[in-house]
Point group: C2
Chain length 638, copies 2
């Protein structure tokens, strides 16, 4: 290392071996800032003001500033004596620091919603490549070219009924003769020879995992020779021009089949654009991409396949086809190898798609410590529960509130959206202080779903709203105002925002949030009742989907979105649908298991559940503050 | 019956119960003419002049003329006493006659080469139709449409891995809802649902058998509900414009892939024209035709599939693919049901096609009394032998002589072509007399293959040519002349012919015929040697193909085309390739057996057989006249 730019006397070294990262930086910086620069996924719920105590880390080596009063209050004596500190309170003076982040401080958030938790799986792809030197044809061996190939690979492929597309037969004679009878046979399972390539091409085999989301299409390129992910890319789903959500797209499609055709066309085209881009970036030929595994919600699934989603729009909301499909890429117009296959995972129900199945697969819901639950939060939220005896699923229409619609300052998780909010009472100014975080660190432009959850939870804990979400009267604060005759709480002053006006949350917004959370909470309760389990017995809740990655668990528990369980039992797993798709791409045994799982999962139609209305109404209420939640509020006030 | 037009006193009744035919006709007619009018397949080798004795029939009832001297010579005393007569010698005087034709007098000839011997098979088609009333979708039963269907038919279809084409999924929701949930499921094997039809359509299911011959495309329409043949149609193979025989087409195709594409295009188009015509004639919708089974020689097979036949043209003459193929009709552009299947039977070798396999299947070569042999005579002749231990096959290039090319007056089996010749010495005029038969009874235009065989055999028996086919010197006859310095025998005088000149056979023609028959004879001998059997042990020889239907067995034996065996052991089976195709269409178990048979048949490449040249040279010679043949000649002289 050249020392020209680095003055070791004025610099410190920060190592986070856990993440395989090191930074040499100037001294006297706050550790939290250094760790942010290193992109260490560290929690910082209050935004680094020393009041939440979530940025707890273990530091060894080097000299740093002494523990502050915040740290003495928020960390135990034992923790302090072991070297735990709050990253927001420590300044690094000199030397080399080794920092490790305990699980409770780890932010279960991914840099991009394009990736998520991935369960490693052994490599057993549908594609086999076998290099052979064929015996030459002669008057003493007049077998047909194809039979010669099949005979030669019979030790590798169970070839009794192996098939080949007529298009692929045609080029075989020239290929084998031009390559001196040395060829690589590409087979899809033991079912079909999809190509005969000149020479030895065994080191070149790729596949794609594709998640067709309502708003975003995510594509991962996987090297099938070693299972590694080569490249990731995404593009907005261009169907958005025909409706932002699935219901509006469905409505557009059912008007006539020409509309349906157009929706299919644009999504196929967009998928092809991403594929072309990712392949060109990774320098991979499309003829070497033999398979793609596709997941999506049921409406996206139908539109991708050109199936009229009309009947998903009317009760009883049944899909046209649920089971897994292996479709020739050419039949769908997907630009991979001309005889490649598009494997479409099964859907579970009209509103529990193959994305939810892929989620379940990614977390291995069948083998989780039961009871365990998986929740994918969105406009439509899917909930799956493994009770230990059965796996049941439901879908609940949470509405668009969590996605930023239907609220005064709601926005999608765009740059500048406030995604975290922390409110506390500052006795020195005798008013509430708001700390917030924006996506990309931009000036605020609005509030995304997680901010609404945070704000509602804090307003409730601070007794600004009651358990019906109504603003209590007589609280003195510059932040509490009436806007359009609606009580509102200002989260960001106009001078702080990019939009030049105050950003606030009002009673109507809170009502929307309560309805949305009630839909999910009711789904969770009904699943538990159906399976005869107690919510407090739940060992684990997995939160999937990009929305979940921004959500604060304690706050979600406080507002009753999640049941009142130990927050350590809640795990954010990110966009695991693509992870599940990748597992199916890499391992056909898992693909088979996914198909079994889809058949095994019992779908519960909430609207037919006898006490649904009662449970839903109850779920609208904010739950009683528990001692633990109360404690958190008391700390804020301290 | 009205008697107005029929005077029973002046009429006779002729019944041929065997053929379920009756004719009321004027009295005093020759029985042979009556039987010809009834289209009874009765032999008449000499053309009805009372010298061959082949039109022997049993007559009961009525009054007829007394036996002639011909009959007394050609029929035994026992036969005469039992009521056997020569149909050409009997005149019907009065009353009702019952005529039956003994097997040895039966002409194994079919009215058209579009049909042939058919082995009845139990009905077990690949297509299943199941009528069901689906349980209606409801909030308590939210299964997807396709899963609902599959669940409902699970007692009829093993549905674990059943598939459906993406195109076929799309129309399902409307069909089931518009038909009050009463639908007919159309499945191809247990593998794929190819349609869901409104209401009960079980009584409507069709299939096609298609024989793509080098010169003719034959199509049979089969009702798959009862196995019956509804309609038969054919069209010339339009590829003929690109070359009359397979070698010239192959040469055209290998020049470039555009030529190949054109050859495929014209044959597909022609097949579609015949299909459209046959369906419109039978009033069958193409959406109810779910499968077609295709046979053809290996070059036709490759061209039909758009596979470059180039390597069939060069040693070692290997096909590109030999095994059976099930191809979507839409992938080949064949106009049956859009998701129908084209099942292409396997080929055996470069010059033993799926037509030969279908022949073997039709006669059940595996279970024939062994040793048995199957010969399909053509420009390229295929020979199959079941030795009892193994089934072996070879292909032998007989050349175009049998198809009318390469000879002075050769012609295809067109109207006016002489197809039978009978020559005898008439002592009263001290010269040879020629009787011949023309196709359609027209004035002669030329000679087709069977006539060359007949003529050569008679010239040899009458000692006009020697065993090398050379004309003997010093025979006095107006018919023996030199034309272009080549000895010739005039078969039809110019005043009898349509072409206004003498039609003759010359020494060069005879040489061509000897080379052609030597190719076949050598193939037969080598197969027998390979299998270690003696030709005299052969229990049965089946002659397949349209050429065979015109051939006179005794004459074929006389010239050594067929081995010297009892002619009763030779059976003409007509165009059985289409019969084999139909068996495969009607019964999938037979289809499976055909695939096994194709793998089981051992192909012998004649050119690599050690003593091929020696055996071929020996086979050119005309064999020694046996006593039986000699007797036939003596009779002629009588």
């Amino acid at each position: 290392m050249s020392s020209s730019a680095i003055d070791m006397n004025r610099n410190v070294v920060v190592m986070a071996k856990q993440y395989d990262k090191t930074l040499i930086t100037i001294h006297n910086r706050v550790l939290l800032d250094v760790l942010r620069e290193l992109e260490i996924p560290l929690r910082s719920d209050c935004g680094g003001i020393g009041v939440c105590g979530k940025c707890k880390v273990l530091i060894t080596g080097g000299n740093s500033t002494q523990p502050t009063s915040s740290e003495r209050k928020l960390l135990s004596y034992k923790e302090l004596s072991e070297g735990y500190r709050l990253a927001c309170q420590v300044r690094l003076i000199e030397g080399e620091f080794e920092v490790s982040v305990p699980p409770e401080s780890t932010l279960q958030r991914y840099k991009s919603a394009d990736t998520g938790f991935e369960r490693p799986v052994p490599l057993l792809p549908a594609i086999k490549k076998i290099f052979v030197t064929l015996p030459r044809a002669s008057l003493n061996d007049t077998r047909a070219d194809f039979e010669r190939i099949v005979d030669t690979v019979k030790d590798f492929i169970n070839s009794n009924d192996i098939d080949i597309d007529i298009d692929d037969i045609r080029k075989i004679p020239e290929t084998i003769r031009n390559s001196d009878w040395k060829v690589t046979i590409v087979a899809w399972y033991d079912k079909r020879i999809i190509d005969v390539e000149a020479g030895d091409t065994r080191d070149s085999a790729y596949g794609l995992a594709i998640d067709i989301g309502t708003s975003k299409i995510v594509v991962h390129l996987i090297d099938l020779t070693n299972g590694s992910t080569i490249a990731i890319d995404s593009t907005p789903n261009p169907q958005a021009s025909y409706g932002a959500d699935i219901i509006s797209r469905l409505t557009y499609a059912l008007k006539d089949d020409e509309n349906l055709r157009r929706l299919q066309e644009v999504v196929i085209k967009a998928v092809n654009v991403v594929i072309d881009r990712i392949l060109s970036r990774a320098n991979v030929l499309k003829d070497r991409v033999y398979e793609a595994v596709v997941v999506g919600n049921t409406v996206m699934h139908h539109l991708f396949l050109g199936i009229q989603p009309k009947y998903l729009g009317y009760s009883p909301y049944v899909p046209t086809i649920a089971r897994a499909l292996s479709i020739r890429a050419k039949d769908l117009g997907i630009s991979i190898h001309r005889s490649g296959t598009i494997y479409v995972l099964p859907v579970i129900a009209g509103y529990v798609g193959s994305d939810a199945l892929a989620d379940a697969l990614a977390i291995d819901i069948e083998n989780c410590e039961a009871p365990c639950m998986l929740i994918d939060i969105g406009t439509n939220s899917e909930i799956l529960l493994n009770s230990g005896k059965e796996i049941i699923a439901c879908s609940t229409p949470a509405g668009p509130a969590f996605e930023g619609f239907g609220t005064a300052f709601g926005t999608r998780a765009v740059s500048g959206a406030i995604d975290q909010v922390f409110i506390y009472f500052d006795s020195s100014i005798q008013d509430f202080v708001v700390r917030y975080h924006t996506i990309g660190g931009e000036k605020p432009v609005g509030l995304c779903g997680s901010a609404f959850i945070d704000a509602t939870a804090h307003l409730y804990r601070l007794n600004i709203i009651n358990n019906r979400g109504r603003f209590l009267k007589g609280i003195k604060s510059k932040r509490i105002v009436e806007i359009n005759n609606t009580p509102s709480f200002i989260l960001a002053w106009s001078n702080e925002t990019k939009i030049g006006k105050d950003i606030s949350i009002d009673a109507k917004d809170i009502n929307e949030i309560l309805l949305a959370k009630a839909a999910i909470a009711a789904g969770i309760r009904i699943l538990a009742k159906s399976a005869n389990i107690d919510l407090t017995d739940i060992k684990k809740i997995y939160i999937a989907g990009s929305f979940g990655t921004y959500m604060n668990v304690e706050n979600a528990v406080t507002i009753g979105l999640l049941p009142s369980i130990d927050t350590k039992k809640v795990e954010f797993v990110g966009n695991i649908a693509i992870g599940g798709a990748k597992m199916c791409l890499k391992n056909t045994e898992i693909r088979r298991k996914a198909e079994e799982l889809a058949r095994r999962i019992k779908y519960i139609e909430l609207s037919t559940y006898p006490s649904f209305n009662k449970i839903f109404m109850e779920s609208i209420l904010l739950p009683q503050i528990t001692s633990r939640n109360q404690e958190s509020s008391l700390q804020n006030g301290g």
